[in-house]
């Protein structure tokens, strides 16, 4: 009897599954609709454009090109990770129900579909980053990043943070499917409250108590860390690493624990 199939090592199976699912995500984005490709690149672009525009008109008295360039780099550095966070959450939350049909292949574990979506969103996000760097290059922007390893570190941590929350939401969504709708509505307030287009220092200069309130949002710590590692005129003094660790590993622990408990139920539910 042929036993080639059952001798595959579990690491190899895992790699094959993630690779197959990843290719499928990429293919789906680039073949199913042209709109998908368009939005992947232009949604962050348009958002940045709007904010730069608002910034330019509200400060028309002191307008100068350097400030605008600096602000657009500041915005780009925050918005690309923010959109990555957003799309990881949005793609994770429905991952189980969207992939129900292919759980008949026993090597596909539900959590793999989330891994694959995180990896593919990271892939798209990197593509957007390169796209923006190319634009900046052709516009002769002078881009100096203060601390590139720190930026990469913050970016990576944000992905882990997003994965933990994405998995948790996906699990909750498999019992209460209004979670997905709630999530759709929560991104605009989150965008406004997460320090994507302002630095916390500017808020603290006006009202220290509001700044203190904003710091309860873990995402603003990520944004402060990212901004502080990119821009020479900013620092990371508001970043509370313990707070970030707390909001990463508590949801991670809870979601993994829940996942282990209900994995079989997710696979066998029809």
């Amino acid at each position: 009897m042929n036993s080639k199939l059952k001798k595959r090592k579990s690491v190899k199976i895992f790699k094959s599954v993630i690779f197959a699912l990843f290719l499928r995500e990429v293919k789906a984005r680039f073949t199913s609709s042209q709109a998908g490709v368009f939005w992947t690149f232009f949604q962050p672009f348009i958002t940045i454009f709007i904010f730069v525009y608002i910034h330019a008109i509200t400060r028309s008295s002191e307008i100068n090109a350097n400030a605008t360039i600096e602000y657009s780099i500041f915005l780009t550095a925050g918005i690309i990770p923010f959109f990555l966070f957003k799309s990881i959450l949005l793609r994770s939350v429905g991952a189980f129900s969207a992939n129900r049909a292919i759980f008949i292949y026993k090597q596909i574990k539900p959590i793999d579909t989330i891994f694959a979506r995180v990896v593919s969103e990271y892939f798209f996000s990197s593509a957007i980053l390169i796209f923006f760097l190319l634009i900046a290059y052709f516009l002769n922007y002078d881009i100096k990043i203060k601390n590139l390893p720190m930026f990469a570190f913050a970016y990576l941590w944000l992905i882990i943070f997003a994965f933990a929350w994405g998995l948790l939401l996906a699990i909750i969504n498999s019992f209460y499917d209004w979670i997905k709708k709630l999530l759709d509505f929560s991104f605009l307030p989150l965008l406004l409250l997460s320090g994507v287009f302002f630095s916390l220092q500017t808020v603290a200069d006006i009202s220290p108590s509001i700044a203190k309130l904003l710091l309860y949002n873990p995402l603003i710590h990520f944004m402060e860390l990212i901004h502080g590692s990119v821009s020479y005129s900013l620092d990371t003094k508001y970043v509370d690493y313990n707070y970030m660790l707390f909001w990463t590993f508590i949801p991670m622990g809870i979601s993994l624990w829940l996942y282990i408990k209900i994995e079989k139920r997710i696979i066998s539910s029809r």
């Binding site: 009897m1 036993s3 066998s268």
Partner: protein
């Protein structure tokens, strides 16, 4: 060889637990083609899914060192917005096939399923018959110890049904099948032994004909 150890399987319903198997211990001997019979709702498909590793006993374990295909059923197994061809490639990747093997399998399936240009159209446009053509052709292209088939032989037009049967007969020279069907003729043609699921018990028959007789008995 497939070993069931104290297997209990039930579904929770509003009226309480609906049992499919209750503390069943049993060993299915190796290298036989197995037909599974039972009335609707007896748990044939669930039993099949448990063998395929995508459903799980509430208590007890099912142990086997053989490889099983995914359960070929009328629904499931495909990504709707991908073409038939891309779905075949996807499954090949799941099973860690090399590019060359994948190419070979894609060609084989394309030839077998005779879907013409539909093969390059999204699966969501397929009828269930067309889907099972692809999924059947695909399962024949892999080397499993057991192929799990849930009623899919009954779909498609007559010509294709005959063709599938012939292909399957050739395939079972090298591997075995576990077949759920309500068609007694198919069971007789394909299977050596029979398992009857009835009243949350599992009865094994060394001859498929005896299993069919017993099944007809409970349907009286």
């Amino acid at each position: 060889m497939i070993e069931l150890k104290n297997v209990t399987k039930f579904y929770k319903t509003k009226k309480g637990k609906k049992f499919i198997l209750k503390d069943v211990s049993f060993t299915i001997p190796p290298k036989v083609n197995i037909g599974i019979l039972g009335r609707n709702g007896a748990g044939k498909s669930t039993f099949m899914r448990m063998l395929g590793g995508i459903d799980f006993p509430n208590q007890g374990t099912i142990v086997s060192d053989n490889s099983f295909s995914w359960p070929l059923a009328l629904s499931g197994g495909f990504i709707g917005n991908m073409t038939g061809r891309d779905n075949v490639k996807f499954v090949c990747r799941l099973y860690s096939k090399t590019d060359e093997e994948t190419k070979e399998i894609v060609n084989k399936v394309e030839e077998f399923c005779e879907l013409g240009e539909y093969f390059d159209m999204p699966i969501k446009k397929y009828s269930s018959g067309m889907k099972s053509r692809v999924s059947f052709g695909l399962s024949l292209s892999f080397d499993f110890d057991y192929i799990l088939i849930d009623e899919t032989l009954a779909v498609g037009d007559k010509k294709f049904r005959e063709k599938s049967k012939e292909a399957l007969k050739k395939k079972i020279e090298k591997c075995n099948i576990i077949l759920v069907s309500h068609q007694m003729k198919t069971l007789k043609d394909m299977c050596d032994v029979g398992i009857l699921l009835h009243n949350n018990k599992l009865t094994y028959f060394e001859d498929i004909k005896d299993a069919i007789d017993a099944y007809n008995e409970i349907n009286k």
